[in-house]
């Protein structure tokens, strides 16, 4: 069943995603996580700590790899990407908050390869909202929803670290 987007409980979705990854971890003890800024980075931080992963989480800002730079220019709030582990030969779980067109995922994968050649990259997203424009699919998803085209789902993080989701209208 597809839940209504106003009923989404971000904390419950996070726990569901965490348990899926914990189960899959049994076969991949050396998993490293990389979160896409900003929402995916928050999720990666929590997963890294909740699963006691050996490597610190990496963070990626895909601004330098986006395919809409020619139309939109550089975003003013671009932050440095940081990958604190050796990408060469690593098994990486790439984490985003909302999976949509797949263009951000494409940009993030390109960027990871500029740090080295990983053995494997998987994708986790809190929410899959459909609307793909590239052949991308997630390995772990907590919820699949179908919002209207003018609705944007935004992950927020409170001061105590709790997640919530808001719906913004274009």
């Amino acid at each position: 069943m597809t839940p209504s987007i106003t009923e989404l409980d971000a904390e419950a979705l996070y726990k569901s995603l965490l348990e899926q990854i914990r189960t899959a971890m049994a076969d991949m003890p050396n998993l490293a996580v990389v979160g896409i800024r900003s929402g995916g980075a928050w999720i990666a931080e929590r997963i890294s700590s909740d699963l006691s992963l050996p490597d610190k989480p990496g963070f990626i800002d895909v601004s330098f790899y986006r395919d809409d730079y020619a139309e939109k220019g550089l975003r003013p709030d671009v932050k440095p990407s940081q990958i604190p582990f050796d990408v060469e030969g690593a098994t990486i779980l790439l984490i985003d908050d909302v999976l949509f067109t797949g263009r951000t995922t494409r940009a993030a994968i390109n960027e990871i390869f500029d740090y080295g050649r990983p053995a494997k990259i998987m994708l986790a997203a809190l929410i899959d909202r459909g609307g793909r424009e590239l052949p991308v699919s997630a390995d772990f998803v907590a919820a699949t929803v179908q919002p209207a085209a003018d609705q944007t789902l935004v992950l927020q993080r409170a001061d105590n670290g709790a997640f919530s989701l808001t719906v913004e209208h274009a």
Partner: protein
Amino acid sequence: MLNPQLNKNGELQHLLTIEGLPKDVLTHILDTAASFVNVSDREVKKVPLMRGKSVFNLFFENSTRTRTTFEIAAKRLSADVINLNIDSSSTSKGESLLDTIDNLTAMHADMFVVRHAQSGAPFLIAQHLNRSNQPHIHVVNAGDGRHAHPTQGLLDMYTIRHYKKEYSNLTVAIVGDVLHSRVARSDIHALRTLGVPEIRVIGPKTLISSNMEQMGVRVFNSMNEGLKDVDVIIMLRLQNERMNGALLPSAQEFFKSYGLTPERLALAKPDAIVMHPGPMNRGVEIDSAVADGTQAVILPQVTYGIAVRMAVMSILAGS
């Protein structure tokens, strides 16, 4: 008056001078540069932002270092770089500056990086492009006459922010041949815009222009007085080509009065940093013990210069 460097949306379209640029534009460039610093440490030292763009380095005046750092910056953004050594090409055959620009525009240039001995040459090119309806072509001033060297000014600001975190409690001294220095002018404008409360220039009367006090700086003719308790020392190159005039008795004489020695550096705050835009004249404006000492940040300046130039080019090309 509309700032000729900004487009109608207030975005940076050309970088010609720091003078008149709002603080948020400078801060945006410095913040963006911070993201580019670690690109140079990766396995692949490139991002694809300017893939397919053609950057023309037009150096009407020689400068190996500035040209190289612009070339590296453009290549790390994946642009194609064409270096034109104008001295030995068309201008020597009599072609005018704007005819050269029109020809390169016909080759579908996307950006011109311009170094010229005449103050205002990059402005003239930018104005010409805007008037001939080529607003998508961007101009970066890589140093024009005695006027401005905005990317050097920005990389100096980046270096200061990196080591000192805040601008609002600093005393910065600029030392040496201030009169002929476009670096000094760009630094002073940037330091004022970013809110540095005390800016000093130190040098002999013959090498300090008379309008310095109007620019909001304190003028010192003595190193011992001027260096007292400063946080940042920016040394300028003593331009040998100026020595032929009657401005200075000799390089040795200059070093005696204005060379930065360990003894003089000790007058500044203990954690003061020493900067120099290069190329250095050891034993003329700076003692080797200082240039190679722990307080010198001259080589980090070069490294940050690449990130700052990447930031400038990528912001311009995206506007």
